[in-house]
Subunit: 212 residues, 2 copies
Amino acid sequence: MSEISLHPPKSVPAKARGSKPPEQEIIDYISKFIALSDTEIRAILENINIRNFKKGAVLLREGQVSSLCYFILKGCVRQYYLKDGEEKTTNFYTEGQPVPPYEGTFKKKPSKFYLACVEDTMLSVGTPADEAKLFAMFPHFEAVTRVAVEDELGKSQENMASFMINSPEERYQNLLETRPDLLDRVPQYQLASYLGITPESLSRIRKRIMRK
Amino acid sequence: MSEISLHPPKSVPAKARGSKPPEQEIIDYISKFIALSDTEIRAILENINIRNFKKGAVLLREGQVSSLCYFILKGCVRQYYLKDGEEKTTNFYTEGQPVPPYEGTFKKKPSKFYLACVEDTMLSVGTPADEAKLFAMFPHFEAVTRVAVEDELGKSQENMASFMINSPEERYQNLLETRPDLLDRVPQYQLASYLGITPESLSRIRKRIMRK
DNA sequence: CGCGGTTCTTAGCTAAAGTCAATGGATTGA
DNA sequence: TCAATCCATTGACTTTAGCTAAGAACCGCG
């Protein structure tokens, strides 16, 4: 697959051609819901707080109270629960995905899960204060955020339904189709956990599928 | 269990004592997020559209496009997908719960699931226009709604995690603790589906638990 | 009251996932 | 570079859930 790029600007370094700066991810995300003016884009970029984390870094621990909202600019973050000493992976977040502060924001409850970087990861970290500042500058962002959260709620519900309805083998097949990148980025035993099965079972499922 | 009621007002009819009118459910829900003035309460009650449905009535079908938002005042609504001719139940909504318009609102996508009344059910049915009207009257309702949706997203994520992490037997135990009312209101085979298992398996699980 | 349908349970069998243990390959770090 | 660790795979066995079928209990309705 070769990238199509008409008239690439000559001043851009070769290695950057066809790619985009990580901050663009967050602009692209918001642009799904509203057309942003240059002023707004600049304000957003000036008001986000970008941080880098090493592979394995833990962003949130069980019991911690946090109202931070993350957005993945580059890399991969895993959400997992600790049950009977086992890590139970319940989500993977990658480029262009928000990591909402679930029970954190309104109720200020201690987290029941962990967030850890699967790879070196670049994040935008948002606080309620950052949010309030942007809402004050652009009041209609409040409505945009609401719509975005509704959209995330829809996806969450759909994900849950998909998990409930399908068998482990079907869930693996779905993963192959919808998030094939995860297979390369994430160790098998974490994927297995995410699929709700043991690594041994995933191994057998893979073998079963192979000989078809 | 007898109800505790100090100095019940003498003017209240006997049958109403200790209970509340169904519309109150929606006021109670919003009051979890913000203190409502009498004016606001009146405006809300005047602007909601209450409808009654018979047991078995279907509110939404697969393929239909809808941006209606329901709120259960009395009764029970079941959400289910049709897969290989089988009904796969993914949610039960009861008194005091909102039924958000998932993919419906923003993306206007056809629904992948059904909504049907498990019992005779009284609903508040909200349209985007109703919403807009209330937001125009009370602009801060926009923020309240956002927080409420965030709260629902948090619950959704937690429900999904709980389903992913636990075994069918543990899921049944959880249901006993968190929503015991469903056991009486909903037929077993629908509960089984909701737990991600067959009616036969649920029957065996119940027997297994009995003799402990 | 009894009939017909629905729902729940039971049983026997199959298929799949869990568990335990061992192996071998890859990765990491000293 | 080598050793230690981690991880994926495999095998044998157990447990659990799915499937089919049949019977029992429980409706609602005439």
